[in-house]
Structure formats: structure tokens, C-alpha cells
Amino acid sequence: MGPLSVNELISENTNLFLAFIIGIGFGFVLEQSGFSSSRKLAGVFYGYDTVVLKVFFTAAITAMLGLLFFSLFGWIDLSMVYVNPTYLTSAIVGGIIMGAGFIMGGYCPGTSFCGASIGKLDAFVFIGGLFLGVFIFGIGYPIWDGMYLAKFLGSPKISTTLGLTDGVFAILLIMVALAMFWVAEWAEKKFPREEY
């Protein structure tokens, strides 16, 4: 059955229309959770507001379990679902650069659009920076394409790499997340916060 567009059960235009609808859900949930506020987002790095950690890991686990159960029920063919490829060097270096951008700018790309949608001017400026950053990557591509394409490992699953089944890995991840949520709740009590 699923994925619908890969199995050509829906037309390309329907797929794009559903992308728009899913995007509305994405933006709505982000904003409702407070991801339109850079100070709320940055709070996770100081312990005064850990909403990012809670929403992020709950979402990843919900979607992961959803996919595993959908597969079990035969509702989705996981072999047709895109697994992000692993280029070890660029995954690490790109992540480090993004982390620096996160603590400096207070947003990530998705949340900056969310912030801009309710009028945050710092989010508009951050988006301007995003365009500039992507443009710089594009014009200088020959300089860093070696690093971009280095250490290609295919599209391995972390469960396979660790020698676990998907289900066992899922249970471990849930336990790690619960431990982090416990620390997060403790940190929010310990570090003072203000509402903004």
C-alpha cells in the first residue's frame, strides 16, 4: 500500500498537494510547541527550557514506531522508504557547522520558517542567512566536493550497524529517551526560566 506516491497510487499533483497539507501540520505543531521562539529553542542548551529535546525525541520515536508497526501490518513497504545515505565525513562536519549555527542563530531551518510565519524578525534574518549559506556552498562546491563525497557507507541502518534488530534498537532508544526526559525535567526545575 504505502508509500502512496512511490507505489503510484496517487498522482504527482496529489502528492504535492498532500505535501502542502502535511507542511501545514508540520508548521502548526512546531508553532504550538513553541518552536517559533528562538529563546525557547536555545533553552535546551542551558537547561532552562528543554522543549526541543522532548518534542524532537518523542517525534522521532513516534514516527519510528509508526513505521515499524505499519510495516508489520503490511500497510507500508519499508524497502521503498528512503533511508538517508551515510557519508561519514560530511555527516559529522556538516553537523558540527549546523550546531554552531544553531547556538549562534537560535533557529534551525524549519523552525526559522515557523518563527517568520508569526512575525519574528530575527527569523527572517536567519532565513536570509540560510539562503546565503546555501548559495556559498553552491558556488564553492568544487572546493569541498571531496569532503562532501568522502567516506560513503551506503544507506546503513543504525540497528544493523550495531548488530541489533530494528525492534530491539527501538526499545533501547525509547529507554535512552526516557532517561533524557527525566534529566530534562530535573534541569527545568533547577534552572530558572522566564516566559517570552
Binding site: 509508526g66 533557529y107 508569526i118 540560510l130 539562503f131 549559506g133
Partner: protein, 177 residues
Amino acid sequence: MAKSIEIKKTKYLNPYIGGVLLGIVLLAANFVSGRGLGASGAIKSAIVTVETTIAPVSSESSGFVKEFRQSHAGNPMKTWLVFEMLGVLVGGFLSGAFAGRLKFKVEHSPKITSMKRLFLALGGGVLFGFGSQLGRGCTSGSALSGMAVLSLGGFITMMAIFGTAFALAYFFRKNWI
């Protein structure tokens, strides 16, 4: 007093409920399109459009545009992530409207000026934009969506993003606390 506390508590959605809802949105994306959510990909589409419109001949020979073309045939703006991100703007706006949060403002710590905040937002944006291209996706496309499909690279990128931000938090503390 009691009333104001109650308002503060109900200001935002419970984060665990928000997380489950976001997870369902991500699951829906995978069920419909066979791929997760994303954000930086839409910006790449826009940049490719601008480059190929302004300098059609020279840009098509650039490695960046070629790499994009391999996975996206046709009009670069007619892609899943572009439509999804247009939806994000609508969804965020609707949520802000319902919650009474629509307001033009620069959000920053009282310890810094608006100008400094905007300057840092620009710098952060440039770094994030660049890093998202190198890392083949941002927090949404690489970290969150990658983790949901158990991608090794997704977990590595997630740890690199959050690890670096934690490591640098001390140096940027005045901007936030």
C-alpha cells in the same frame, strides 16, 4: 495571580503531546511520499532556480546544480519540500493566529541589543545553510527524518548538531540567558 499562572501553563502545547503529533506528521510524510520531512531542501530548490534563471548556461555546468538535477527532474520549484515548506508558513501562521502570537518583533535576551541579535541570526543562518548542504539535510531532513528510518547518518548528524551546540553554549550564553 492564580489566573496568570494558569495562562502561562497553557501557553504552549504539552511537549510530549507536541512530539507525538509531530511524529504523526512525519509518519504521514513517509506514508505519502516515501520520504520524511525537510526544510533546507526547499531553500536549495530556490537557489538552484535563481542560479539557472540568471545564468542558465554556466550554472548547469556547476557541480552543485548537476547534483541537484540527478535527483530532481523538471522545475526545481515543483518539488515536495517546496510545497511542504509553503505549508509550514501557513500552518505556523494559523497556530500563531489562534494563540494570539502574531507580532512583528526581534526576540532577544535583555542583555544584548536587537542589532546584535540580528547580526548573530544572520551568521547562524549562513552557518546552518552551509552545514545543511554539506550534511545533506538539516535538523528536519537529516536528523529527525533520518532517525525515524533508523539511518546511521541521521543519528550521527543529530549527535554532531546537538553536541556542538552544547559544547559552544557557554560562549554564547549572554545571548540567551
